[in-house]
């Protein structure tokens, strides 16, 4: 009995060592990653709402701050999705990880569109701002289409 338990203990230790070595043990727990990601998405949503209001009101100055925020938050979207960062509360589809290259592409597109949007917001050209907003919205929708589930 004793032998068996010490054997299993060393087994566990070896497993912990191996996992630790590959970085899995040190990874952020999924619940924390999911919560953090959802908070960032909420911020993006708020920024888009503010931008929409500013764009409709023709308020270029009001668009500058949320556009800058959007640009900052979309710089590294894929980093919000470390492998295994999913739980019952997460709306990220398994396709995020199984089609990682496609996911990287839409995430990158969001970054590019957010940069263009920030530029348009600071240019004072309201037509350009409207176009950039439409493009940004399409980028959000494109990613949600393939990679977000409707829970």
């Amino acid at each position: 009995m004793k032998k068996a338990s010490s054997l299993s203990a060393s087994f566990v230790l070896t497993a912990v060592f191996l996992l630790g070595g590959s970085g899995i043990v040190r990874a952020i727990p999924p619940a924390e990653s999911v919560k953090y990601r959802q908070d960032v998405m909420d911020d993006l949503k708020d920024a888009m709402k503010a931008l929409k209001h500013a764009t409709k009101a023709g308020d270029g100055q009001g668009a500058a701050a949320p556009a800058a925020k959007l640009q900052r938050l979309t710089k590294d979207l894929t980093k919000l999705f470390p492998p295994g960062s999913t739980n019952a509360d997460s709306e990220a589809k398994p396709e995020v990880w199984s089609r990682w290259a496609d996911f990287e592409q839409v995430a990158n597109d969001a970054r590019v569109k957010a940069e263009a949007l920030a530029k348009a917001a600071s240019s004072g050209d309201s037509a350009a701002l409207q176009d950039a907003m439409r493009d940004m919205g399409s980028a959000c929708k494109a990613c949600h289409k393939d990679f977000r589930s409707d829970k």
Partner: protein, 316 residues
């Protein structure tokens, strides 16, 4: 089909001239012929193409997830009744609907019956298409004849054993009312156009109306949403209930949604609805989009909180 016939006529009438002429002349005559036939054919298919987009045929009949050919079918649709694979509706003679007549097509869409007499599963929204006008069905048919044929065989459905074509016959007797949409007296033209778009073409209710255990829409819950939508999606309540529906949305917000998939809180739609917006709704004319928004905004309020999936799991 039509363009070939036109082109054939053109070549026959021009051939004596071409024989006397330079090879380049023949080539030019041929190109002009092609161009004319192309423009003519394009003009003929445009109305049908618009209806085709509004009716959302593309999304289900194309397996875009696996880069499938346009309208060649094979897209998997997971439902509580099993997984359905949509059929090939290109004009391919062997695997598509190339041998169908226009009457066969009209019967399929308005009666839910195949040319061989098999009764369709209601996953195919003939229950909505039956409300289409004869003129729109004709235009849609002309457009479908113009798409490139694809030789891709259909895939068998993967459904529960108790679902059969004979069951579909019984289902139709119980739940299906064929017949085209009749405009409602006393409502505006915009409302009536919107009602036609929503109930006949865009078949919004097929997903937004919850279904009973036999898969029939619960009429008294029209547009009140369901947590058992296609592909397991949670489909929201779009009635005018202010708390559980979209009763607080402005007309402007509804239009933003139909045109761009933008939600009032800054979020953007995803999943199947994003496909519906991209393939159909955003291509609606300004008048049609406004008409659809008018109709949707008028849906009687139904207080129905659509459960989130983890809440459903906790209850069981």
């Amino acid at each position: 089909m039509t363009s070939n016939r036109l082109l054939g006529k053109f070549i026959v009438t021009q051939s004596p001239l071409s024989h006397r002429g330079h090879p380049l002349g023949i080539a030019i005559a041929f190109c002009i012929g092609l161009g004319m036939a192309g423009a003519r054919a394009d003009e003929q298919v445009q109305p049908g193409k618009y209806l085709f987009q509004a009716a959302g045929c593309l999304a289900c009949h194309t397996d875009s997830k696996h880069q499938g050919a346009m309208l060649a079918g094979g897209r998997a649709l997971a439902t509580p009744f099993g997984t359905f694979y949509t059929p090939n509706i290109t004009p391919d003679l062997t695997y598509g609907i190339g041998q169908w007549s226009e009457e066969d097509f009209v019967r399929a869409l308005t009666e839910g019956v195949s040319p061989k007499g098999a009764h369709y599963y209601p996953v195919f929204p003939y229950t909505s298409y039956t409300r289409m006008s004869r003129a729109d069905l004709h235009a849609l048919w002309i457009y479908l004849r113009s798409v490139p044929p694809v030789a891709q065989p259909n895939k068998a459905h993967d459904t529960s054993w108790y679902l059969t074509r004979i069951g579909n016959w019984a289902w139709q007797r119980l739940f299906f009312k064929p017949g085209s949409w009749e405009p409602q007296a006393g409502e505006s033209d915009a409302w009536n156009r919107g009602a036609y778009l929503a109930n006949a073409l865009a078949h919004c209710g097929e997903c937004h109306t919850p279904r009973n255990a036999l898969g029939a829409p619960k009429v008294e819950m029209a547009y009140a949403g369901t947590s058992e939508g296609p592909e397991g999606a949670r489909v929201p309540n779009i009635t005018s209930d202010p708390d559980t529906g979209i009763g607080r949305w402005t007309q402007d917000e509804l239009l933003d949604f139909l045109k761009e998939g933008a939600l009032p809180d800054g979020d953007y739609t995803g999943g199947l609805m994003a496909e519906v917006v991209d393939n159909g709704l955003k291509r609606l004319s300004a008048e049609d989009a406004a008409a659809l928004a008018t109709y949707i905004a008028s849906l009687p309020p139904i207080h129905h909180e659509v459960a989130h999936h983890h809440e459903v799991a906790e209850k069981h």
